[in-house]
């Protein structure tokens, strides 16, 4: 005998509970941040993180001003808040799927991540966290730009903090859940799927009333928007920051008003709708990811690069 302990550490294969899961999550988040930010030139990284959402907001502000002649300040607030919040969606939703693609196609590490003791979904959530943080940076900068340059300051005395915190917490869960669902999709695709997450996010941009009220959409499309938690999340955050502003959900010609007879949802109804749709999406995403993971393992898709 060499004196080494003969007993095998079962924790290496079975995991060591919540503490180990959290450690794995933190490590993945650190890697995600390193890939996104530390490896890039800081000036370029900052410019990229900030210029994208600000430019997106400016496109809409110019469109708005051309038509309204600068006479629609409420709608301007609506648009800028929508674009700012959309940074979270672009970061969080696309983040998880891009982690799968980057690890599989570019770094060729997905199979090693998969066989590591950390649960695969936890590793992906960690990687996605970094992108959510970057999205948050873009959102804050866009709101600050709106306040300082576009003349739409947030009045701290009027901010509904409780509604803001509750909406943001539920909204972020919903974004991550949708991202997990997208990760499930790209685990299966065998072709160049790099543009897929952004394409799906772009399609949702139409459905959730990010930059215009849902009332201008046809009824069936509005119905799809009302089932998505992002619609309620944006409505909640908008209402908390700018009370009494334009509603994305209700108003003349909206399906919501037609069904409920109310001009706009009240705050409890809004939060309830956000909670319900978030639960629904989270459940659907968890099932989709489990099925996709099982199929990918079964068919050897995890280490099969497409060379795209």
């Amino acid at each position: 005998m060499t004196g080494l302990t003969p007993s095998f550490d079962l924790g290496r294969t079975e995991g060591r509970g919540l503490r180990e899961t959290f450690r794995g999550y933190l490590t993945a988040a650190r890697i995600g941040w390193a890939v996104e930010a530390n490896w890039a030139d800081p000036i370029l990284f900052f410019t990229y993180s900030v210029a994208k959402p600000i430019a997106a907001a400016l496109i809409l502000v110019v469109m708005l001003d051309i038509v309204s002649g600068g006479q629609a300040p409420a709608y301007r607030r609506y648009v800028v808040t929508g674009v700012a919040l959309w940074s979270f969606v672009q970061g969080g939703f696309a983040g998880l799927a891009m982690s799968v693609l980057e690890d599989r196609e570019r770094y060729r590490m997905l199979k090693y991540v998969y066989v590591s003791p950390t649960t695969f979904a936890v590793a992906l959530l960690g990687r996605g966290t970094a992108r959510v943080a970057i999205g948050g940076m873009g959102a804050l900068t866009t709101l600050a730009f709106g306040a300082l340059v576009l003349g739409m300051p947030v009045d701290p005395a009027r901010v509904d903090v409780l509604l803001f915190v509750a909406s943001m917490a539920l909204g972020l869960v919903a974004i991550i859940a949708l991202g997990l669902g997208m990760a499930a999709v790209v685990l299966q695709t065998r072709q160049d799927s790099w543009s897929y997450p952004e394409a799906v996010a772009g399609a949702m941009f139409l459905l959730v009333g990010a930059v215009f009220p849902l009332a201008v959409l046809p009824g069936p499309v509005q119905a799809i928007g009302l089932v998505l938690p992002l619609t309620w999340w944006m409505e909640g955050v908008r209402r908390s920051l700018f009370p009494g502003g334009v509603s994305a959900v209700g108003g003349p010609g909206s399906l919501f008003t037609e069904l409920t007879g109310r001009e706009a949802p009240d705050t409890p109804a809004l939060l309830l709708a956000l909670l319900g749709t978030t639960l629904l999406v989270t459940l659907a995403a968890a099932v989709a990811f489990r099925v996709s993971e099982h199929r990918a393992k079964d068919r050897g898709l995890i280490d099969q690069t497409s060379g795209s």
């Binding site: 890039a40 110019v62 708005l64 038509v67 309204s68 648009v79 394409a199 399609a203 139409l206």
Partner: protein
Amino acid sequence: MSLYVRRGAGSPTDAARWSRRRDVMTNLRSVIGRAYPRVIGSTREPSWVLFEVLLPFLTTSAFVFVYRALDAPTEYVGFVVLGGAMSAFWLNVMWLMAAQLWWEKDNGNLELYFTAPIDLMSILFGMAVGGLLATCFRAVVVLSIGTALYGVTFSVEQWGLLLVVFFLTLSSLYGLGMVLASLFLLWGREAWHLTQLMQEPVYFVSGLNFPVGRLGFVGALAISTIPLAVGLDALRQLAFAGGVASFGTPSPEVEALVLVAMTAIFLFAARFFLRTIERLARREGRLTARGQ
């Protein structure tokens, strides 16, 4: 006798001395060879039609509904539809050309390109041709469905000039793509971020969804430097003749001349930069290795 039959040569220098015909034919074959995987690849998994054609159409539609929410004239909806179609070409140039050499380096193929007896411009041109199929399809879908669904009415008086401007826009865009491909390679692993940076900010200064003349000095600067800005503005003026599209910008004829100049400058610059990176790769062994 085939061009590719090996003939005996007195020295390596003689062996490397090709006839003009053989040179041209080899480069043409490399264009086809590089375009082939993109064309064939797109038929292997049809999911790209949903993700790269139909869903981006919905993104364009979002901007249409912004104008609708504001009760804007239909002409503005037409601007969005035209911008949505042209953005497909910009994305193709950015992702499938500008970022591609860096991407090939990451995949380990770049060394093969540099050692092959072909011009790098042929490789890049092949990429463009291969990617054009899907891009044109996307542009046509956005334009045709957008026109039909949102009731856009075009008012074209100079079809010839419209076509000339369109092809000049494409040639200058792909010329710029070649320049950026070599620059992105020189700048290292920032290509991803740079490509991202060249989307919304460029869309804004190019006036993707509104007449670029509304941006004043910024718009004028964009017209003199970005092919998307000048091409889109000229196309808009020609497609919606007599409307608000001609606000504060040069006439389409002048913009066509700007595009000619851009095409010449970008192709010349691309040749220079591609030669530079080829020299760095061959003589100094730099740029090609993965992770470098």
